[in-house]
Symmetry: C2
């Protein structure tokens, strides 16, 4: 069975040594609760829960999958008990508002716990995971009565939530949805329609499920401007707020999927189900983005967790597996062959995992600080800046970390050789589980359009400048630091090029809107590489200044990881830059009909 | 269910229009049999067999998998009947030696059929697929009696073959094998040991199975110089050559794998099984490479087939699925939304599949001509040249086509969005099936060491020069062709850089052997991109000169595909070149112990 230890030392490095989380937390309202001691204790307790409770259920959950019987879904063996422990431990309410019974700790802290959960059991993690989005939507857009009825239960974790958006004929293009909401008694509506790909849509972990459902009111405007959001509970709460009458919503079937078998991905049938409007009529898309943005960060963290899990197990295997002698001579003369970690190409793969996991963690914790300020900070310039950066970085966190996360889980299989393909070792499950992260909550292509189109170009590049200026200042400040020369020089160039590429696309897009789509994914990947390069340069600065002492080996390894990232991963920006500059021409040249002339008769 | 049409038009373009296969075949002994009409008819018949017989069994085979009961393995429903049809159709003997009952057609032709089989049912294709390697080993190294007993049956397809190399503790490093061969009565040996990952090791498709087994003789030298090859039949042939007494070899268990579920991947126990030496004692490794090289080309073709399959179905989906409007305006005003093929990023993914599939086909058919000459051509300069090119290109075909093949099957999932993750659509199966191709018959890392270490550097770069000279001549000849300027200029530069990079590695490697391993995979990928770029330039030349006429749209699409390849895929060489030049330093810096300091306590 795969093993896992939460990377607590690395988390401490990023939180305390790089980003000064102690001061950051202290400056937040309620921040005194998040003292370094408390944070440390929570992370350690979470690490134990993930390792001891969730990890042992990961492979068995994958093998068993979920069972739909008589309309009820049974999650794999042990999932329900683990969820009970999770609720009893108070984990769901960690970062929730004290007004709704939450502990009021900063969301960034919950994100580090989320990394551990995703690393050990992604399928399980999606049962409580979706509740956050539903809770966010209710917190921001729900009435006081809705908050009292649903939000408190979601925060406690005794009920879980879903996001019911996708329908068979539409996922990305939600303007096409067919689910209808017809006014009924009082403030109720009757919801009718079919939703697909509903994670945790039906299960036996919690006593009730709160569906957040997109539907159209009668006479709603066409397209995305005519979408409204409704809350539709599985059991209608009774007068005491406990689950009462069964509502007209049920699971029609479970999807058979490539991965995350332990999670129930449901077709949900709404058959005149009773629902209540959340937010204003026809403004459901805005409410949905509230859920979606939280969910997108969450999916990026899934990529991070999965690569860390793959890295740790690959490292163990690479140290144990004996195969061939080192190219420059025998390394382990007492053994029949050398451990494969001596081979440079195995090291290249391990370092790819290590660098992306550590880089991803920095990116998440950098973005998480912005989220803390947006959620809890006082209005003002700092909050505005945090909002801009959060908006800019959310699609990068989501898409970049899931793209490289998938790559890293595949490196894990590759390091295991043929054994990586065998289920027993657990490495191929990480690949199958990781595959969905590039798709759900908006594919990489959609994230890329969000980044380049909505975030960067719509602001005339201003949102990007907030970030590139910060990088520029850092480069200027360290320009004369000889220890950082190898990082600052390439970073400054790439940072300048980032702006130039943006300008170039903007100019071309004025002539031809297709240029935005043509450049978008390469632009997102370029952005991800440079953002992580900036953070590795800061890590290198920290590590260089902290060298010596009892953690000397840790800092040296960190410096060398930064070096590897700059020398062996960052050059990929050269390719992305060239492909961005190549433009849309070669993409648009072949007609739909002529695409298949090689095989169509 | 996924659909498939063999890309006959594209095959004709490459074979007849680009590489003049008619003359190539005519120049081979027995070549008059391979007239364009015969070749065309065989390809069309093969296309029907793949589409009508194999494709319908692909998803069901994946779902059912294989069953081990009482030592017997049952392949999925329909596999046995399809195999009977395959044998009755004379397919196994197509390219085999007439002396052993083969049809004596060139191996290149069998490779195009193999593409179709891999595209429609890889798991099935591995039952007959492994026989070729076993047959090759016997043909080259077997005694006349062994040929009479085993080879004829393998050629007919009434028996199938395996390659029993890997053991639990060693795959790449076969010098470590523990299986023993002890002399017994007459020329027989008793073979004892355990082999794992044996594809088609046991099954119900054929009446006998011929295992080619690596084992060590008593007092054999240590390591890879002490390996011998044995033929070990499942049933010992009786006096008439029919399956007689059951031999002491049996399937201990079946592996549970990420993909190719329909193929039986067996743990094989040899328990004093009777075997016969093939080739000279302790020279088994050379015999094994005979099998291995054929198998490596075969695996590259698996990558090709899978990407073509993914491309075709992605194209169909992209034309049908309606989602969002085109960025530059409505494209299908009569529909609720535009088909997603209008979106540039969807086109980028489709074109990536199309360009790699067409590029891969050119690379396979270029290499296949060399194989034809090596197998059938008369001794002389041309044959020597073909041997050099075949040796150089085999690891590139194997590793490059499986790496980009995996990428392309993943693009297929991405184009399908969330539906790509659902089993029903068949796209995720292609990913799972493709995943093994990067591993078996030598991982990408092993192919890369073969290319850079054995093939290029060991020949002081001479083998590479044979190929780069050809490219150089082509670039010179077309230097003044304005229609090809956009291809020739970058190709000439990359070709020159290929030599420079090689020299650079060679120089560094004289100081430090680790530099070879550190550069190897990036070098292999760089080589693959440039080789395919050369072939796309030739395709563009052909298409440019053939424009007009009734196939004008085909040639225009080909030119545009070449353009896409040059503009949007070939720039990846920039990254690979930079990573090669970065050297081994950052890979070797961190000690095995310090790799895990972020999480190990």
């Amino acid at each position: 069975m795969p093993s896992y230890q939460a990377p607590l030392r690395d988390m401490r490095f990023v939180m305390n040594e790089m980003f000064d989380y102690p001061s950051h937390y202290a400056a937040l309202p309620n921040g005194e609760e998040a003292s370094p001691d408390v944070v440390g204790a929570i992370l350690e307790e979470g690490a134990r829960f993930a390792r001891d409770v969730l990890l042992p259920l990961n492979q068995s959950g994958d093998e068993e999958g979920c069972l739909l019987e008589g309309g009820e879904v049974k999650a794999p063996r042990g999932f329900k008990e683990a969820y009970q422990q999770y609720v009893e431990g108070g984990w769901p309410s960690l970062a929730a508002d004290p007004e709704q019974g939450g502990q009021g700790l900063p969301p960034s802290l919950a994100m580090m716990l989320s990394e551990m959960i995703c690393a050990t059991n992604l399928a399980w993690g999606m049962y409580p995971g979706l509740s956050h989005g539903a809770a966010d939507a209710l917190r921001h857009h729900g009435t006081d009565a809705q908050k009292a009825t649903y939000l408190t239960k979601l925060v406690e974790g005794v009920w879980t939530g879903t996001m019911c958006l996708t329908e068979p004929h539409c996922g990305t293009d939600l303007g096409l949805i067919k689910t209808r909401a017809v006014p009924a008694e009082g403030d109720a509506y009757q919801i009718t329609g079919t939703k697909i790909f509903i994670s945790a849509g039906e299960h036996n972990l919690a006593e009730n499920i709160v569906h957040l459902v997109l539907a159209k009111l009668p006479d709603a405007p066409e397209g995305s401007k005519g979408i409204s959001l409704f809350v539709v509970p599985k059991f209608l709460p009774d007068a005491e707020g406990n689950p009462g009458q069964r509502n007209g919503v049920s699971c029609g079937s479970l999807e058979h999927k490539m991965g995350i078998h332990g999670n129930a991905t449901c077709v949900m049938n709404f058959d005149g189900a009773t629902g209540y409007l959340v937010g204003a009529p026809n403004k459901g898309l805005a409410c949905m983005f509230t859920m979606m943005n939280a969910a997108r960060l969450g999916v990026g963290i899934q990529g991070l967790g999965l690569m860390e899990a793959s890295f740790q197990n690959s490292l163990g295997y690479a140290r144990d597996r004996l195969q061939m002698r080192g190219l420059s001579g025998v390394q382990a003369p007492d053994k029949a062959a050398d451990p494969i970690i001596v081979h440079p190409d195995v090291r290249r793969m391990l370092l790819t995992q290590k660098a992306f996991a550590e880089g991803g963690r920095m990116l998440v914790l950098y973005t998480a600080q912005m989220l803390d300020v947006v959620e809890h900070g006082a209005a003002g310039e700092e909050k505005e800046r945090a909002e801009t950066l959060l908006g800019l970085l959310t699609p990068i966190v989501k898409a970049f970390l899931t793209e490289v996360g998938f790559e890293c889980t595949n490196e894990g299989v590759q390091i295991f050789g043929g054994h990586g393909f065998i289920k027993e070792w657990g490495m191929e499950q990480l690949v199958r589980d990781a595959r969905i992260t590039r798709l759900y909550e908006g594919t990489t292509g959609i994230q890329a359009l969000d980044l380049l189109g909505r975030k960067v170009l719509m602001s005339q590049g201003e949102s990007l400048k907030v970030f590139t200026k910060e990088i520029h200042k850092f480069c200027q400040a360290e320009a004369d630091n000889p220890a950082l020369k190898e990082f600052i020089e390439p970073l400054a160039k790439l940072n300048a090029q980032w702006g130039e590429l943006t300008m170039g696309i903007g100019m071309k897009a004025m002539q031809d809107r297709e240029e935005v789509g043509a450049a978008s994914v390469d632009y997102l990947m370029y952005s991800g590489y440079v953002a992580v390069a900036y953070l590795f340069a800061r890590a290198a600065k920290q590590a260089a200044s902290a060298q010596g002492g009892e953690d000397a080996a840790f800092y040296t390894a960190k410096l060398n990881t930064a070096r590897f990232y700059y020398q062996r991963l960052l050059p990929r920006t050269k390719a992305h830059a060239a492909m961005i500059q190549a433009g849309a021409g070669s993409l648009m040249a072949i007609s739909s009909e002529d695409f298949g002339l090689g095989f169509e008769i």
